[in-house]
Amino acid sequence: MTATINWFKYASPPAFYPLTGTLAPWFFAAAAVFGAMGLYVGFFVAPTDAQQGEAYRIIFIHVAAAWMSMFLYVVMAFWAGVGVAFNTRLSSMMASAVAPTGALMTFIALWTGALWGKPMWGAWWVWDARLTSELILLFLYIGFMSLQAAIDDPRRADRAGAVIALVGVVNVPIIYFSVQWWNTLHQGASVSLTRSPSMAATMLTGMLLMALAFWMYSIAVVLLRVRCIILERERNADWVKQLPEPQR
């Protein structure tokens, strides 16, 4: 008999639950380390921008949050789709756990974008293509979460959420390109987010470190949240009842 890896071992909540408890602190630690390094590079090492002065430094938070906001939506739709296709409980729980973090990242991206926009463009908000599509992304996240919150039966909530997440993920590129076209038709390139292409290597390092920190933070938080969801949904299962008190 050949030794095979059981790929689906951690697809069951009783097996996955202890794993999340072990992994989450490590990801939190990694987030703290990368965050500290990224912020140090961002604030003390990276040079002052020739055109934007010191104000550009918000990029180190803004870009990482914007990346995560888009990526997490795909992750959420992926898990929701897997949950419906294979009827695995844990996948749907992952989708529900990812959504609030994704919405938070979208909000941070919008907020820091506004803070950046005021000194650069003189306005908190401009109807730039990226800002607008990011705002619509936030609406999509909120729609997903509200739909799940409105349904009491968790299985129906999972599957209904999966439908709207998948419809959303098909629509995101369409929305993005239509907003972009709408924008170029309405106003010329008077406002553009594109910076000068040459970026100092230290800036790039800082951005990548911050992106890593946001990654680690997102994973850690999603793991913690999925722990809560597992406990809530499986509260009547034997293995939850047998957990020692402090872990419950």
């Binding site: 619509i136 409105a150 129906r156 439908v163 629509n171 076209w181 709408w182």
Partner: protein, 227 residues
């Protein structure tokens, strides 16, 4: 008992929904009046200057059409869900997605089409030239079926939920964005001399894609909600 053939079943669903809508003419009328009132409020809000109104008109008419067709979505499945007819539809031997398509078609004929017919009149109130009115009607003709098709997914998902109406708008309105952009954009493009061809082609493409995928997604959503 033999089950009816597919075309018969589709015709039956379409005819029945049209008949039900005609028996409740007030509902159809309400959507239309809502559309007219919302459009008429804008000049009161921003002032009667014709130049401003002319540039705003396509967007205003389109946003009002979006809201009106969204308000009507609740009626798409709610009545059948309440009296159990929807379960029979789900159990029927014919493919549910096609039956749903027939229902959506009936819904569009009773809510979307009246909006398209009234729109030129509202456009006149905003002093749109004849060419722009033609484009406005064409864009609405292509765009409002897309609204009904996408909206059907949301209506099926929120069936029987508390706070269904507000939730439905939250789910559906962000997905309406591309239709709004190209619908209103078509009129503006023709006004600025660019020609509306590209916008209308894209709206047509949206319609074709929605025709293929939306009934199917709606059928999946209905099965989730009904079971």
């Amino acid at each position: 008992m033999n089950s009816p053939s597919l075309p018969d079943a589709l015709r039956c669903v379409l005819w029945r929904d049209l008949l039900v809508a005609m028996r409740r003419r007030a509902d159809v009328f309400t959507t239309l009046v809502f559309f007219v009132i919302v459009v008429s409020l804008f000049p009161l809000g921003v002032g009667p200057e014709l130049k401003l109104l002319r540039t705003m008109a396509p967007g205003v008419v389109w946003v009002a059409a979006l809201l009106a067709s969204m308000l009507a979505l609740n009626r798409l499945f709610a009545g059948d869900y309440a009296d159990g007819a929807l379960e029979q539809l789900v159990l029927a031997p014919q493919p549910l997605s096609l039956l749903v398509l027939a229902k959506i078609a009936a819904h569009w004929l009773t809510t979307g089409l009246p909006l398209v017919i009234v729109a030129p009149l509202l456009g006149l109130q905003f002093d749109l030239p004849a060419e722009a009115l033609r484009i406005l009607v064409a864009s609405l003709l292509l765009g409002t079926p897309v609204l009904s098709l996408i909206g059907a997914i949301g209506a099926a998902l929120t069936l029987g939920l508390r706070g269904g109406g507000a939730l439905l708008s939250l789910l559906v309105l962000p997905l309406y964005v591309p239709v709004l952009i190209f619908g209103a954009g078509a009129v503006e493009a023709s006004a600025s001399g660019l020609g509306a061809g590209a916008h209308l082609s894209l709206l047509g493409a949206f319609l074709l894609v929605a025709l293929v995928f939306a009934p199917w997604a709606t059928a999946v959503a209905l099965r989730i909600s009904v079971e």
